[in-house]
């Protein structure tokens, strides 16, 4: 009990705990769509792409850059989806170029203008420290926006994820729905980068969703479970990170992994079988149907 309450006397830990829990929940929630669409590599690429903008935001700490980083992320998200849609082979290469270039730019910005050392590690692996109230506010706003988007477009999102071609002719605006999902994804990555870290965000998109998939065959329940697993990983990971003195992102991911192993042990072969084909890049849901 002591161990749980003790760190709460520090304002920075309280903020860290809120952000970690909410971030875990948000990424777990969106991760369901990302994983089912076989898009986790896009999440991975995107977090690196956003890093350039994120570095600028961190270093110059002006609200103008928050906007800049957000637009940067959304622009790269849409660029990546468009490229990814056009051709399989070219997509990976193009994503590689866009994201690594942006990542390199972020690194360069940090090296040139940042205080070297800890700040850079924090950006890569997440940190409890230096979380401001305005960051919490942004995270809350993005979470609320995500909830509203999914709430009002639940069926459209589900339909385009499961069966885009039939969704298209059933009156669902497939392109618009996908663009919206990419915007939500980049915003979510942007506001969770501080606590999870650039290199580990993609893991938090994947792990809770996979765990949830092992536990259920229902889409609705998978969304709920994945959110819970993400939140628990964030909460527990934050405490462990405090006591172990390691970057928060690493512990959050490790807790998620532990949950995965426990669920695997419980569900066994049945759970494993459910994850077959999950996040398979070779099975894109986007079918080509265009004029010659």
């Amino acid at each position: 009990m002591e161990a749980l309450l003790d760190p709460l006397q520090y304002g920075f830990f309280q903020r860290g705990l809120i952000v970690a829990t909410l971030s875990g929940a948000l990424l777990g929630f969106i991760g369901v769509y990302i994983v089912l669409r076989g898009m986790s590599y896009i999440g991975h690429g995107l977090s690196h792409a956003i890093f350039g903008g994120f570095a600028a935001m961190q270093l110059f700490a002006a609200s103008f850059y928050v906007l800049g980083a957000g637009l940067w992320g959304i622009a790269s998200a849409i660029a990546i989806t468009n490229v990814a849609r056009r051709s399989r082979l070219g997509a990976d290469a193009a994503i590689g170029v866009i994201t690594t270039a942006s990542f390199a730019l972020g690194v360069a910005l940090f090296a040139r203008f940042g205080s070297s050392g800890p700040a850079f590690d924090n950006a890569l692996f997440g940190s409890i420290l230096g979380i401001t109230n305005s960051q919490i506010l942004w995270l809350v706003l993005v979470t609320a926006f995500t909830a509203i988007v999914v709430f009002t477009r639940y069926r459209a999102l589900l339909f385009t994820t499961f069966d885009p071609e039939v969704a298209d002719v059933s009156g669902v605006k497939v392109g618009r729905t996908e663009a919206l999902l990419m915007i939500v994804l980049s915003l979510a990555i942007l506001v969770t980068l501080t606590v999870i870290g650039v290199t580990l965000v993609a893991a938090m998109l994947v792990i809770p969703a996979v765990v949830a998939r092992m536990l259920t065959d229902s889409f609705g329940r998978m969304l709920v479970l994945s959110t819970i697993v993400g939140a628990i990983s964030g909460l527990v990971g934050m405490y462990l990170s405090y006591y172990a003195g390691v970057p928060s992102g690493t512990m959050i991911v490790l807790v998620g992994t532990a949950v995965f192993l426990v669920v695997l042990a419980i569900t066994g072969v049945r759970g494993m079988r459910r994850t077959v084909g999950l996040d398979s890049h070779a099975a894109p849901n986007v079918k080509e149907a265009i004029r010659p």
Binding site: L36, F162, E165, V169, S170, T216, M222, E288, A289, I290
Partner: protein
């Protein structure tokens, strides 16, 4: 007098990025249609359905639709992602895109239950889609299509991979829907078990080779033009039976 068509293709060429698959297609669907599309693999049967559905735009020619016409599609089971986490009820509900809220309303739940009941899978709503037999999976997608109250129903190979009695059931079900005034177009590889029982057939091989009732199009000449192989056509108990003449006694299709 023929009713005015719900969907009409006129002089349509269509295909994909690299090549045209269909040439000069004229084809119409109305609420009296009960048409089977036959042809060899790669002939463009699914492509023709996509044109009717509207998911593929023609490269040239026109597709005319009656304003507000509701078209539903039942995909080929082989193309479905069976590992997707979704229950039968969730899958059927999904296509009711008019409603925005995630969960089903009371009337909607009743509608889903009704249509599943009607298709004989009323007690399977909470099952995962993979935990159904081939025939039940077919009915689930039929349920998803029907809950949108379509005027036209398009089905891609609705009887591939199901046994004879399921094929029978599907055929009867479709006949009932046809009687209710839903226009039906389906593709099939099964000349004897399926095509010969339909009132209207279209033979496709990159173009429309022939269209008409089975008596008129299931002939050795038309089949040879369509499939590129000589087949014999026999009469058996009033039914047409297609026999592959290269291997006596073996059924084609």
């Amino acid at each position: 007098m023929a009713p005015s068509p719900l969907i009409a293709l006129k002089g349509v060429d269509a295909g994909y990025r690299h090549s045209l698959v269909l040439h000069g297609v004229d084809f119409a669907v109305d609420h009296r249609s009960f048409t089977g599309i036959v042809g060899p693999s790669g002939a463009g049967k699914t492509t023709l359905l996509r044109l009717l559905l509207g998911s593929l735009k023609p490269a040239s020619g026109t597709v005319e639709r009656a304003p507000g016409v509701a078209v539903s599609y039942v995909p080929q089971l082989e193309t479905v992602n069976w590992n997707f986490p979704i229950t039968v009820a969730e899958c059927v509900q999904m296509s009711r895109t008019g409603r925005r809220l995630p969960w089903a309303s009371r009337t909607e739940r009743a509608e889903v239950a009704d249509v599943l009941e009607r298709l004989g899978i009323g007690d399977l709503g909470q099952r995962h889609i993979r935990e159904l037999s081939g025939g039940q999976q077919q009915r689930m997608f039929l349920a998803r299509a029907l809950i949108r109250q379509p005027q036209v129903l398009l089905l891609d190979e609705p009887t591939s991979g199901v046994d004879i009695s399921t094929r029978h059931d599907v055929l009867h079900l479709l006949a009932d829907l046809h009687d209710e005034g839903i226009g039906i177009v389906l593709t099939t590889h099964d000349l004897n078990g399926m095509a010969a029982h339909l009132p209207d057939l279209v033979c496709v091989n990159e173009r429309i080779v022939a269209q008409g009732p089975p008596d008129a199009v299931i002939t050795p000449d038309v089949l040879e033009q369509t499939f590129g192989a000589r087949m014999e056509v026999l009469q058996h108990l009033g039914m047409l039976v297609v026999v592959d003449s290269s291997g006596p006694g073996r059924l084609a299709g």
